[in-house]
């Protein structure tokens, strides 16, 4: 890997060198490194581009890194990654995509990640998106996540997109079995004329299942964000979605909740708050000696931390 790819890798996966444990690094549409462990197998798909990540039942405290980096302008990359997470396992999966585009053509990465989470398994899934490059070519990412949680399964999904991605449509669908839990935490900051759309659909099918979809975002300049949260309560369950957004400059944020209770015992809540930074927050930090600009930065950084 070259220096640009290494720097992207650091941005999206916090990695300086090859990670410990299982990993699969994809650079410019090609496999750039792979490691499997006794409990975690990674297999290249034969029918389409992508990999199967198979985690044995009972695997504890192991991690899988599957970063993707693109440094070639005009590349359109599309992968299918399937995760099979065995019963009673407890793992962390770190995915991420970094694009460095210094050309004039658009670079695009679309990934479809499907999670089959076994009975009583716990997964922490971290996904970071980052784009850079001084060319006029756009950085486009369209991640799709499909989640199926078996009885008692638990998945926490953290997605972060802070910089440099011109256009993104994130689509997440999930089906929850009995007593399973899905927590989604999304952080987005958009600049310039960027567009970020998040579309979540969670089907609460199993009795006693629970979801919490939380989005914190900042829209600057003329950027636009759309947050769609669709929660269907099909059993005695609890669903909550929350969109908390700061708008700056001419930024636009839409929050579109849709909660449907198909069962008398479903409890569904949606909250949304969109607004500019409160004047008194700026004033308070200015009385501590910060300029208005510095105060703004501190508030935004804290909000997205």
């Amino acid at each position: 890997m070259d220096a640009i790819q290494k720097s992207l890798l650091e941005q999206v996966a916090g990695l300086h060198e090859v990670p410990e444990g299982a990993y699969n690094i994809r650079a410019n549409g090609q496999k750039a490194g792979r490691n499997t462990t006794a409990n975690i197998d990674i297999v290249t798909k034969t029918d389409k581009d992508g990999i199967d990540i198979i985690i044995k039942p009972g695997t504890k405290n192991e991690s899988v890194h599957i970063p993707v980096v693109l440094s070639m302008s005009g590349l359109k990359d599309m992968v299918y990654n399937d995760f099979f997470i065995g019963e009673d396992s407890d793992v962390t999966i770190v995915a991420g995509c970094g694009i460095h585009n210094c050309g004039v053509q658009s670079s695009e990465h679309s990934g479809i990640h499907t999670f089959h989470v076994g009975k009583n398994a716990r997964v922490r899934y971290v996904e970071k998106h980052y784009g850079e490059g001084d060319g006029s070519g756009e950085n486009i990412m369209n991640p799709t996540t499909v989640v199926e949680l078996d009885e008692g399964g638990y998945m926490e999904m953290e997605t972060t997109q802070i910089k440099g991605v011109d256009s993104t449509v994130r689509s997440t669908t999930a089906k929850l079995g009995p007593h399973s839990t899905l927590i989604i935490k999304e952080k987005v900051m958009t600049h310039g004329k960027q567009l970020a759309k998040s579309d979540f659909t969670v089907d609460l099918d199993g009795e006693g299942c629970h979801t919490n979809v939380i989005s914190r975002s900042v829209a600057r300049d003329q950027s636009k964000q759309i947050f769609l949260a669709r929660i269907n309560g099909n059993a005695a369950c609890y669903g909550h979605s929350e969109c908390d957004a700061i708008i700056m400059d001419e930024g636009v944020v839409s929050a579109i909740p849709e909660v449907t209770a198909n069962c008398l015992d479903a409890q569904l809540v949606h909250e949304a708050a969109i607004g500019k930074i409160a004047g008194e927050q700026l004033t308070k930090l200015m009385t501590l000696g910060l300029t208005e600009k510095e105060a703004e930065e501190q508030i935004v950084n804290g909000f997205l931390k």
Partner: protein, 242 residues
């Protein structure tokens, strides 16, 4: 140190000009000065004028001999004026440590940040990583607000009713905080308060009513008149205080 020269502050109300402060003329050099008086008398407005949050309609403000009337909130803060809000501001995401670090203006370590929290009677380890958001009670926020002022340790600290919103149980602790502050702080404290126990530790008491200074002098002269019903202060209220 602080000179207020003919400060006037008007607001427009239903098309009319309403005077909130009328010709306030004060020179403050003492270490602990309390401003008291009835609600709506202009105390908080005066504090905000000093901090630069409000711009006076007329008059000049001098700080250590320099005219700061035209300076921003930030510039005044950097020159050494601190301001504790009557209703502290909440922030989603900023932690207590973040706020104290920003206040001190340098990257202080956890032990130092904890010291400030202990000074205001908060168990540091329970609070240092908490977000300064709606999960904190009003009393906890007030203490954190005071801790940020201590971390700044500037030559002038203005407190706008630090006792407001604090329960009786916490109040005596708060008095101790101010007694300590009086001993330790290098600069001057200007405190807006209705509390006799705070007035009791002031070097000087200024009574503000209807936007005017109605009484001003050393504590021993002013405090007895207050408890007896000062001009402009509601007699019935003063009776209750007695």
């Amino acid at each position: 140190m602080l000179e207020l020269q003919h400060i006037r502050y008007d607001v427009e109300q239903d098309g009319d000009n309403k005077g909130i402060l009328h010709d306030i003329d004060l020179t403050i050099n003492e270490r602990f000065v309390a401003i008291t008086g009835p609600n709506g008398g202009g105390k908080s407005t005066l504090a905000k004028v000093i901090a630069g949050i409000l711009t006076p309609t007329q008059g000049r403000i001098l700080f250590n001999g320099e005219d700061i009337t035209g300076l921003s909130i930030t510039d005044r803060a950097r020159k050494g004026i601190s301001f504790a809000f009557q209703q502290p501001v909440r922030f989603k995401g900023l932690t207590v440590k973040d706020l104290i670090t920003l206040a001190s203006g340098k990257d202080i370590g956890v032990p130092e940040a904890c010291n400030y929290l202990s000074e205001v009677g908060l168990c540091a380890k329970d609070y240092i990583d908490r977000e300064v958001d709606a999960s904190l009670s009003g009393g906890e926020l007030k203490r954190i607000e005071i801790a940020t002022i201590m971390a700044r340790s500037t030559s002038l600290s203005v407190f706008d009713e630090p006792e407001a919103g604090i329960d009786l149980w916490s109040f005596s602790n708060l008095i101790q905080v101010f007694e300590q502050l009086h001993k330790k702080i290098n600069g001057s404290i200007l405190i807006i308060s209705h509390q006799e126990r705070i007035l009791n530790i002031a070097d000087r008491i200024i009574v503000l009513a209807d936007g005017r200074v109605v009484n001003d002098g050393p504590r021993k002269d002013v405090l007895p008149t207050l408890l007896g019903g000062a001009p402009g202060v509601c007699g019935a209220l003063a009776d209750k205080v007695k």
